[in-house]
């Protein structure tokens, strides 16, 4: 009968230690998420974290919350099922760039337009980590990997632009090297009543030697520091989503309020499905088929 309240970040730690490579950006993201839980005063058994398969997905093992380590690319459908069955849970989904923007990108587009109150974090290291270094949907053109030894031909998926154009209500980019900022973006995303996408750019020290710590450090800036920027302006957000190169924006790109999917379901207005009676009388229903 140990404590169950998330009064400190450590409440969300498990006894096991993360097995990521030393220096891996996943540590930062993992920490930021636990920080956000703590800051929001969440209770751990009221959180459900759903993760995909990848180095990123392994993060499930190191949260002391309810966790569902699901399939590669399928975090969002699982998270959606959980949320619809019990919308009182705080539901967070996490996976890699391959997971969410490669094999799972269809679910992402549809989850966005559905706008359930789920927070989705992409561990965006621009490479396939767990499978030891192949190209990913966010690998930059020319990136050399085991599967693209002469360089990637495609242009990368732009998760920020994709989310904005799909109708996302909360779109942000964070950086694993800036835990404090990332924590805030995640905490705000959790608080946001609707689908929140946080593209957490991340260093992979083992397989991505293009987008390193110093590479990021030279480029990123915070949108908050730009006074002219208005995150309620969709056009501005789309324009800024195209910025990539010398300077790379982080922070909140776009936010709007729109009814969530749950909000529009009268069947769960009073209580979640999980709390409802299973004793159903179908006599009249049968009568209608006579």
């Amino acid at each position: 009968m140990t404590d169950v309240n998330g009064t400190s970040q450590h409440t969300f730690d498990t006894v096991a230690q993360p097995t990521w490579c030393p220096g891996c950006g996943n540590f930062g993201i993992h920490t930021a998420i636990k920080n956000a839980f703590t800051q929001l005063g969440l209770v751990r058994n009221e959180i459900a974290v759903v993760t995909g398969i990848g180095c990123s997905g392994n993060t499930a093992q190191w949260y002391n919350t309810n966790v569902f380590h699901s399939l590669h690319g399928r975090t969002l459908p699982v998270a959606t099922g959980i949320k619809l069955a019990n919308h009182e849970l705080t539901v967070l989904a996490e996976g890699g760039d391959g997971d969410g923007l490669g094999i799972g990108v269809g679910h992402l587009v549809h989850s966005i337009r559905r706008n359930l109150d789920i927070t989705y974090i992409i561990h965006d290291n621009r490479v396939y980590g767990l499978t030891t270094g192949q190209t990913s949907p966010t690998s930059v053109k020319g990136f050399v990997t085991k599967s693209t030894p002469t360089g990637v031909i495609e242009i990368p998926v732009n998760p920020i632009a994709l989310a904005i154009s799909s109708g996302a209500t909360y779109v942000a980019r964070g950086y694993s090297g800036d835990i404090e900022h990332l924590t805030k973006l995640i905490a705000d995303g959790i608080k946001h009543n609707g689908f929140a996408l946080i593209d957490a750019t991340q260093v992979c020290v083992s397989f991505n030697h293009a987008n390193t710590y110093s590479w990021w450090a030279e480029r990123i800036y915070r949108l908050e520091d730009d006074e002219t920027y208005d995150s309620r302006d969709k056009m501005m957000a789309f324009e800024r989503s195209q910025e990539w190169g010398e300077r790379i924006p982080t922070g909140l790109f776009y936010r709007e309020e729109r009814a969530t999917y749950e909000d529009e379901l009268p069947q769960i207005a009073d209580r979640p499905l999980v709390g409802q009676s299973m004793d159903v009388d179908i006599t009249e229903l049968m009568g209608e088929h006579v």
Binding site: M1, T2, V4, T14, A16, R44, N45, E46, A48, V50, I53, N58, A60, Q61, N64, T65, N66, V67, F68, H69, S70, L71, R74, L76, P77, V78, T80, G81, I82, K83, L84, A85, N86, E88, L89, G106, H107, V109, H110, L265, P266, Q267, I268, L273, V274, Q276, S277, M278, D279, V280, D281, I282, T283, E284, L285, M286, G287, E288, H289, V290
Partner: protein, 622 residues
Amino acid sequence: MDNNRLSWMMGGEAGVGIMAADMVFSKTCTRGGLHIFSTVDYPSLIRGGHNVSHVQVDKEKVYSHAQQVDILVALNRETIDLHLDELSENAAIIYDGDNIELSYEDLKRQDVTLCNVPIGNLIKTNSLPKIVANTVALGASFGLVKYDLSILEGVLRDTYERKGESVVESNLKAAKAGFDYTAKNYAGTFTRSISPIHHPSGGTVGNSGTDDTGKKDVTTEKRMVITGNDAIAMAAIRAGLKFYSAYPMTPASSILHFLAAHERRFGYIVKQTEDEIAAINMAIGASYAGVRSMTGTSGGGFSLMSEALGLAAITETPLVAVWGQRPGPSTGLATWTEQSDLRFALSASQGDFQRIVMAPGDASECFYETIRAFNLAEKYQVPVIIMTDKYLAESHESVDIFDTSSIKIDRGDIIAPTDENEDVQNSYFKRFALTDSGISPRAFPGAHAGLVRVESSEHDEYGDYTENEDLRQAMVDKRFAKFDGVLSDLGEDAIKIMGEGTENETQKNENKNAITMISWGSIKGPIKEASKLLANDGILVRHAHVLYINPFDTKKMESIIKSADTTILVENNKGAQLGGVIKEKTGLDVDHTLLKYNGREFYPEEIYRKVKEIVGAVEAKS
């Protein structure tokens, strides 16, 4: 000529309302206390192409369609060309002579009544919309067999009520016009008739489904007209379904439609997803979170669901999946019927694990076994696949109101939110505790301090990843061990035997189990009808209907085959897939195999002929 038996068929272009007519005809007969079985054939097109409704009517329970047609309603010429061969002796053809030229020379037979009904003209003279041609034809059909028009009128009223009074009115007029026309001009010529039955308790049974005050008056003596899919959907609602996620696919889509129609009324959520992968994963998520969930699709969709089936298995998340089969491979024949996905269902998804695979044979089994499916899924924390096919999923049957009084909801071993159990009060909760039965008590996220941690990789008792070789082996064994209980729960229901030891005066065979038919799924109906035909010839057959294909009741099947002189396997596929399972489990061969895989269900007559042949050969030998 058998009174109160009729084989009625209506054919026409897609879009002219063949499906609606099918339902109205079926309900009209059923409300009169008669039994029906009806099936609609249609191509994978929205308009154009040939649609056919075929309804068998009988005073006794009727289990399938049949090859012979007594009344053929031809809304186009094609109907006649395609179905002429199927006309029984002294059959009638209802057609509009103003559109379709037809003469005895065309038919090359004289016994048929050419019942020329000026449908177009009746519509014109009554100032009706063209769309009611099907209703005129319905009226004409019932006029011809001298049925009670008021029952038809009641059904039409109920059917078109929600489309507004003018639609109801024009249908009523149309029906009457047709009815009067044939009653006046042909009822003398055509000698077959059907009439409402009086129920033993007195009073006409269910003439309109409403009592005098207009209130629904549903008694268990009344019968519903429903499809296998309807029965599954109703059962799911009754079983406490809270979440249904699916992507449309014939022949499973009507479950989606049925459940969607009632989602607010019964307080569950129906979600049409972006694809089948999302559908099954959402259902798994919902089940993990603590509610009964279900998904449904056809084989193509199930291909996409394969991966997550294993996810349900390794996370021990209960899951009910309905699998409506249709002919394959690939898109195959999207709106036709076949039973060729059995082997796939038994082994879909990577790795060694078990799943329950069950195949109901009629609407009632669809209902009661779906209820059981939910109970088994939760008790054993396993995936349960309910296999149907287009024929079962979409054919209508008249069935008694289901007896829901004795239904029990068994959610298995769930730790109550109030449980004082140390384990679940601690955040480290053994969701996958190794037990003798293989079943670990469940808890739901948020219900306890104990955290519910699940993992698609191999895991320890807490649900955390492990590569430990002993734990791995223990977990595999655990997941298999759970299945030991299923067969004993099922008892005699795993393989249902019908006609065993039936007594009959004209019985020819000393050994009552001499001829044994073995089948699964929807062929149950045609075999039952074939058995009736055979019984008329004094041949009694025993019928083993394999309701649960996994776990398989090997002992019972062994004894069935060994106690039979002659076994005949009947399957609606090319590969004799159940035959393969039987051989794999028992090592035994069946004597004869009857397969059909042209996209059509067996006719009872086909089965009858085959058995006669076999019996003839057996007798000739001895």
